[in-house]
């Protein structure tokens, strides 16, 4: 390791940080991510701007905190460092303005109060158990403001990584055992190494923020609250695998991200953090936004490469894998946005910190999302946390009205109330149930099991790109059969459906088709008596 180089990039970062220091002043930020906009955040923002017109108090946008039950959130930062987070729904804005002008922290609608040392008030069940690392400033800063990012230690990881050099970074990533957060849990360090060994240049890095899976939205929150973290992680990843160009691949519905990323790139270019000789080092990096086409399939790691190249989203045949032949036939490191966002923290805070969070085989934190509970949203929790903690403790689900928790998306599995001790990590399996990307849905007691299967297979049928026959036709056939059952017709036996599911699983090209049949088989596995009863009654 070259000490000189390390200090040089850190020195460059320090002076950059100084240049970006902001004067101390009261500040009010309204979460204005895509999800917040659906709940009137833009109105709140413009109301506040009107109320504070001519005032020294600065009004701005923030990303989403993940607390979807409280959309849009309002955050107050006092010049003395006090901070508070408020539920923006029905917040008396006039009162807020008056209190703030008087130098007081408002009380109404309060969600969380932070002490001056930044610790979260323990009383808030949604926030308290979280270990917020990639989401550390989510909703508490302007996502497109480089100054905000630098103020909380941004680019410390990159500056250190540049000092470590490619080999050092690669070594660190491998030792960290950072596992891909898209759901499969493949070690990122290994992927980066394959990409580097892929030979040909130029090479590319792609952050996958497509997140087409139904009822999963953790990447949306991350993408729209911590863009710089993702970009910094991509840069470190690029350094490790010898790439010099990156694409942030974003779901086409994430309108706020479409706005903020170009702004962020512009700021980074102006600050010398993108382009040639980043932070005065020999590392060059270009980065751009790529917006996905509609459809679940465009998040499939090879299909998204097709989309970036300007073609319809269709999975590619493997081998070759993207690490060997990805974008334009070049070695390409594709990782989930969450994976990238964790990288700067690992480099900046070190392996000891990283390994102190989570489990031995799944170190670190995981973003999870929960629906069907009073406190819906995205949380960052340590790996290994029990599903019950998320669903019941943090989400506030009523255990008496819980039929099951669907986990791992529409092709994942179901945890019955008796199985909620299920640990959230990459290696735990209970039948079809697995953590996957971290999406969870609480299913109420009144819901029919067959309807769960029907919704799942409908989603898969609609998401099938149509490239390969077993997926295109198999999802269609299965939907018709399950629909028949849901309507009380004896359209198929459980064995018929299981065999069809097995054919799709064995012969489809990509993960979508391979798991599509789980829509039925996972339901059958979890609710066998109910389905058997239905089959018995069907005519």
């Amino acid at each position: 390791m070259a000490d000189g180089a390390e200090s040089a990039t850190l020195v460059a970062l320090r002076s950059l940080r100084e240049k970006h220091t902001q004067p101390k002043a009261h500040r009010v930020l309204v979460s204005n991510a895509t999800c917040c906009r659906e709940h009137g955040s833009e109105q709140v923002l413009s109301d506040l701007e009107r109320l504070f017109k001519g005032s020294k108090i600065r009004i701005g946008e923030a990303g989403c905190t993940g607390a979807h039950f409280a959309h849009p959130t309002i955050q107050i930062q006092m010049a003395d460092g006090r901070r508070g987070l408020f539920n923006g729904k029905g917040m008396p804005l006039k009162g807020l303005a008056e209190e703030l002008r008087a130098g007081k922290m408002p009380l109404a609608n309060r969600l969380v109060v932070f002490t001056t040392s930044g610790r979260v008030d323990e009383s808030q069940p949604f926030f308290a158990p979280q270990v917020r690392t990639s989401l550390r400033d989510a909703g508490f800063c302007d996502p497109a403001s480089l100054s905000d990012y630098l103020a909380t230690g941004g680019f410390e990881g990159l500056a250190r990584a540049l000092g470590l050099g490619a080999d050092g970074v690669l070594d660190l990533l491998k030792k960290a055992n950072l596992r891909g957060r898209g759901g499969v849990g493949f070690p990122m360090g290994q992927k980066a190494e394959f990409t580097r060994k892929g030979g040909a240049t130029p090479r590319y890095v792609v952050a996958n923020g497509e997140e087409g899976e139904e009822d999963t939205f953790k990447d949306e929150v991350l993408l729209e609250s911590n863009p710089f973290g993702i970009i910094e992680g991509m840069m470190i990843g690029a350094l490790a695998c010898g790439a010099d160009e990156g694409y942030v691949f974003v779901n086409h519905d994430y309108a706020a991200a479409h706005e903020w990323y170009p702004k962020a790139f512009k700021e980074l270019k102006e600050a010398g953090l993108l382009g040639r000789k980043v932070l005065g080092s020999s590392f060059d990096f270009k980065c751009q936004l790529s917006i996905s086409t509609a459809g679940y399939i465009s998040g499939e790691e090879s299909a998204l490469l097709e989309v970036i190249e300007g073609r319809p989203a269709r999975p590619r045949l493997r081998p070759p894998f993207p690490a060997q032949s990805g974008l334009w036939g070049r070695p390409t490191l594709v990782n989930n946005t969450e994976t990238f966002a964790l990288v700067p923290l690992i480099v900046a805070r070190g392996l000891d910190w990283w390994k102190s969070v989570g489990t031995e085989k799944s170190p670190g934190t995981k973003l999870v999302s929960i629906l069907g509970v009073p406190r819906e949203g995205v949380m960052e929790v340590p790996m290994g946390m029990a599903a019950r903690d998320v669903v019941v403790t943090m989400g506030g689900a009523d255990p008496n009205n819980l039929k099951a928790v669907q986990i791992g998306g529409p092709t994942g599995g179901y945890l019955l109330p008796t199985a909620l001790d299920f640990p959230l990590d990459f290696d735990s399996r209970r039948g079809h149930a697995l953590m996957g990307a971290g999406g969870m849905v609480a299913v109420p007691r009144a819901k029919r099991a067959i309807d769960l299967a029907l919704e799942g297979i409908k989603f898969m049928e609609a998401g099938s790109c149509g490239r390969c026959t077993p997926c295109r036709e198999g999802t269609h056939a299965m939907r018709l059969l399950v629909e028949g059952l849901a309507h009380g017709k004896k359209s198929a036996s459980a064995d018929d459906l299981a065999r069809l599911a097995r054919d799709m699983g064995q012969t489809s090209i990509c993960g979508l088709g391979q798991t599509a049949g789980n829509s039925f088989t996972a339901v059958y596995e979890a609710f066998k008596p109910e389905i058997e009863m239905l089959l018995g009654a069907a005519k």
Binding site: G295, I297, P312, L317, E461, A462, G463, S464, C465, G466, R467, C468, T469, P470, R472, E473, G474, T475, H476, A477, R499, L500, D503, G505, Q506, T507, S508, I509, Q514
Partner: protein, 912 residues
């Protein structure tokens, strides 16, 4: 070789082979639908899934490469279950009314269902029918049959390299459709690759709908009647009519490739205007006659001219559309019976310059390599060739190579379509070829990129050429040609550094008053860089007519006997006098362009033409017509009443392609057999039989039983074909040289030496064409072809090809048109000092400012009404590509007329 265990039995396949290769070798049935042997595996249908020991999932056999020791099962219950399910799933989305489908019997889905023994589709079949997409006269899509295997898309994207088709919509909404709205606006060239690739006939020839199923057809393997690529395919014939063209992947050189002419241009065969009875002109009008009367008249008229004025008073044109056997018989008749060497073909009008220069410099007048070798070039330079229009299937091979990384450089005054695939496009001013070619050599020499070893060991004349190109600096060349110096440098350096480089050219170089010098400039460059003797390196003059190579090879040339043996060399004339048992004329015959002049002078009194149409194809139509009027006697033997036949005293109806058997030689020297499977109309007779009859009546009896007998007489007389015999040619022909009976033929020429010994480098200097634009006629007039028509149009204009291209369309640069008030689609006069023609104007930047282009196919706007008769002094080729012209508005265009995409090919792309 890699060894695997397939169903417990060891199988060896070449390294890099797939499980499917292994299964095929072992004879294990693995069903496939999206797999096609001529294309990359697609992996879409998932019919070929097999089990591999130790793998978590089944593997697609078509795509999975074998590893040493791999254990594969194709017969297990798991495999059978997957095959059965996936077949059933295909049927769910298929209109299973086989009895109503022309693909019945050929359908690959039907075949798979049959072999898997499926009686009742588990998930039903497609019931809710989707509309048939039909927007053009050639190809339609029936999405009710489509199984979305995407073979057509692969064929379009990576075989034809056109990118017209797409699967639109996802999942259950997926439909195969043109990328934009119609085939036409998606850039379709109607080559038919998609139709040929389709396993279920979801893509189908419009013309073949309802006209029968495969079991009702006889299949006639033929070599295409149009260009020199020499594609082979089958005519599917029912009730003596061609229903459709069927490709076979085993056929060389094209496999499943065709172009629109080959695929859809067969309608002329059953055209009611076919000649079917001999005609004799009396009092200016034709009347029907018996064969005996007509043949006797021809024999007596020609005999009389020969006997009273000598053979020199008779001119003849043989045909580059006729077979080698017919050309051989024809020239034998001319030489042995008419006692003259004045036999020529339209090669005079296309590649005689190339033939002259190549024979002088290297020895053989042909391409140095084969079509398959195109993939082995790392640099391809195309000049003076609208390749994708005139030689479409070779165009596809070049586009494929360019897509895979071969650097493609296109140099042409017209921004021809293939330039869109080029890495570098240079646009010289017309008639400045020698300047830029010399300039390239100048740069190659300056950069030290010449092959010193090759120059020393295998060439002569290098120093003189080096001196000749000394002054052609990039700057000077830029002044002459308009090619930016830096672009020329890039092209020259790329060519100079290339391991294997091929130069393709065509009429753009040869049809010039300095055509021979143009070709010498090309040869000089290739010789200096040592680009000979390897696959992918060399020279490729793209031959025009399907048998222009063969007609020349078989002696339809005024200066040489079959096999390019000069008539004025004693040893040669003695050889042929002995072979044919007669004395022969020993002086050079007249070239076709000289024949016209001799008619004007009154020295040439009798003319016999087999299957050519010089009134349209020769330069300066008025001049040609005046000459023909002076003839004492003209006989024409053809399949249609052509513009030339109208002048004849006797017209003899001939059998056409598909009605006669014989051999053709394509542009890569492939001698291949074309079969007969149709009855000629009425009394029409085989060309060679007609000639034999006339010859016999004139006192030189010729009796042959078959084309095979003729071929076997001719081949031993030609050194390069001495080893060929008719029976050796099936199925895909043999590439000459083939000197001995056990020789396999030759793909690449000149591996160790040139037939002339050392390759001759000939210094040449830039000069412009003869009639340079001036104030009165400020534009350069240049001619060529359109994709949809062939030559004089006498054939293609009687087919469906006429539908999209029924009007003569002149390409005019907007900068020249707009000041004259000419808008796109207006009718204009294109005028030169020799006349004017009325064309539809297409405003385009395909031609640069100052150039107007007219295709040659339209008798109503005959391009050669305007051309000059100046010709190259050595080859006699006319200058079809350069004379002075002007344009004026004739009539405003009609509103709302259908404009075809090809007409609209306005290029706005950069050159990179």
């Amino acid at each position: 070789m890699t060894k695997i265990l397939l169903n417990g039995q060891p199988v060896e396949v070449p390294a890099g082979g797939t499980i499917l290769d292994a299964a095929k070798k072992a004879g294990a049935y693995v069903p496939t639908l999206c797999y096609h042997p001529q294309m990359s595996p697609l992996g879409n249908c998932r019919m070929c899934m097999v089990e591999v020991k130790g793998w978590p999932r089944m593997a697609p056999a078509c795509y999975t490469k074998v590893n040493e020791g791999m254990e594969v099962t194709t017969t297990s219950d798991t495999v059978k279950e997957a095959q059965r399910y996936n077949a059933d799933l295909h049927l769910q989305n298929h209109d299973l009314t086989c009895w109503a489908c022309e693909q019945d019997g050929l359908c690959e889905l039907q075949d798979v269902i049959y072999k898997l023994g499926i009686k009742e589709p588990r998930f039903g079949t497609l019931k809710k029918l989707k509309p048939i997409h039909k927007d053009n006269p050639f190809i339609q899509i029936d999405n009710n049959k489509c199984i979305l295997c995407a073979r057509c898309i692969e064929a379009c994207d990576n075989v034809q390299v056109q990118g017209v088709l797409a699967i639109k919509g996802e999942g259950q909404n997926a439909m195969l459709l043109p990328k934009n709205t119609t085939f036409d606006d998606s850039g379709c060239v109607y080559c038919g690759h998609c139709v040929s690739a389709c396993p279920v006939e979801a893509l189908q020839e419009v013309d073949a709908v309802g006209k029968g199923r495969d079991a009702e057809f006889t299949h006639v393997p033929v070599v295409c009647v149009y260009c020199g690529v020499g594609c082979q395919f089958d005519l599917a014939v029912k009730d003596n009519r061609v229903v459709k063209i069927q490709t076979r992947e085993s056929y060389a050189p094209n496999g499943i490739s065709t172009c629109v002419k080959g695929k859809f241009g067969y309608g002329f065969l059953s055209d009611p205007r076919r000649l079917s009875v001999p005609l004799i002109k009396e009092n200016g009008k034709f009347r029907e006659a018996s064969w005996d009367e007509a043949l006797t008249l021809v024999a007596s008229k020609l005999g009389k001219i020969r006997d009273s004025h000598g053979g020199r008073a008779i001119g003849t044109l043989s045909s580059s559309k006729c077979t080698n056997e017919e050309n051989y018989v024809f020239q034998k008749w001319v030489r042995a019976c008419l006692k003259t060497n004045s036999v020529d073909t339209c090669t005079r009008l296309c590649h005689s310059s190339s033939v002259a220069a190549l024979r002088t410099a290297l020895g053989d007048a042909s391409a140095t390599g084969d079509i398959e070798g195109i993939g082995n070039s790392d640099v391809i330079l195309i000049t003076g060739s609208d390749t994708t229009v005139s030689h479409p299937v070779i165009g596809t091979r070049i586009k494929q190579a360019a897509k895979k990384g071969t650097m493609l450089i296109v140099v042409d005054p017209r921004r021809v379509e293939v330039s869109e695939s080029a890495h570098l496009y240079l646009q010289p001013k017309p008639s400045t070829d020698i300047a830029w070619l010399n300039g390239m050599l100048h740069i190659v020499i300056r950069e030290g990129l010449v092959s010193k070893e090759f120059i020393e060991e295998r060439t002569e004349g290098y120093e003189a050429v080096k001196e000749a190109v000394k002054d052609y600096t990039p700057q000077k060349v830029e002044e002459i040609t308009g090619i930016p110096a830096k672009d020329l440098e890039r092209a020259a350096i790329a060519y100079g550094k290339a391991k294997n480089a091929t130069i393709f050219w065509s009429m753009g170089l040869s049809q010039s008053s300095h055509g021979v010098d143009n070709v010498h400039a090309v040869i000089n460059l290739a010789l200096a860089c040592g680009q000979f003797g390897r696959s992918g390196a060399g020279l490729h003059p793209l031959r025009g007519q399907n048998n222009v190579q063969g007609s020349s090879d078989f002696g339809a040339l005024p200066m040489s006997y079959p096999g390019y043996q000069d008539v004025n060399v004693k040893a040669n004339w003695e050889k042929f006098e002995q072979a044919w048992g007669v004395s022969l004329d020993h002086q050079l015959g007249l070239k076709s362009t000289q024949m016209v002049e001799e008619m004007h002078e009154g020295r040439l009194k009798g003319m016999y033409i087999m299957g050519e149409n010089p009134i349209i194809s020769d330069p300066d139509r008025h001049h040609t017509e005046a000459a023909f009027k002076k003839l004492e006697f003209l006989a024409v033997q053809d399949i249609f009443m052509t513009e030339t036949a109208e002048f004849a005293d006797v017209v003899l109806p001939a059998a056409a392609w598909g009605e006669k058997e014989g051999t053709f030689v394509n542009t890569e020297r492939r001698v291949a057999v074309t079969q007969a499977g149709l009855q000629a109309p009425g009394q029409a007779r085989l060309d060679w039989k007609i000639i034999c009859e006339i010859s016999t009546r004139m006192g030189y009896p010729m009796h042959y039983r078959s084309p095979a007998e003729i071929f076997d007489e001719a081949a031993p007389l030609m050194p390069a074909l001495a080893g060929l015999r008719y029976h050796r040619l099936a199925p895909n022909g043999i590439l000459w040289p083939c000197p001995t009976l056990d020789h396999p033929g030759t793909r690449d020429l000149y591996i160790d030496s040139f037939p002339v010994g050392r390759g001759k480098m000939v210094p040449v200097q830039h000069r412009l064409g003869v009639e340079v634009p001036d104030a009165d006629f400020p534009l350069v007039y240049t001619t060529g072809r359109s994709l949809f028509h062939w030559h004089t149009g006498s054939v293609t204009r009687k087919t469906d090809l006429e539908l999209p291209a029924s009007e003569p369309v002149a390409e005019v640069n907007a900068l020249d048109a707009e000041p004259k008030g000419i808008a796109d689609g207006d009718w204009i006069w294109v005028e030169t000092r020799r006349g004017k023609i009325r064309c539809r104007a297409a405003l385009t930047d395909k031609v640069p400012e100052g150039v107007v282009f007219v295709p040659m196919h339209y008798t109503e706007a005959s391009a050669n009404t305007l051309t000059v008769t100046y010709s190259d002094p050595v080859s006699g080729i006319p200058e079809f590509k350069f004379c002075a012209a002007r344009i004026s508005l004739a009539e405003k265009g009609e509103a709302g007329r259908k404009v075809w995409g090809w007409e609209r090919m306005v290029h706005t792309k950069g050159t990179e």
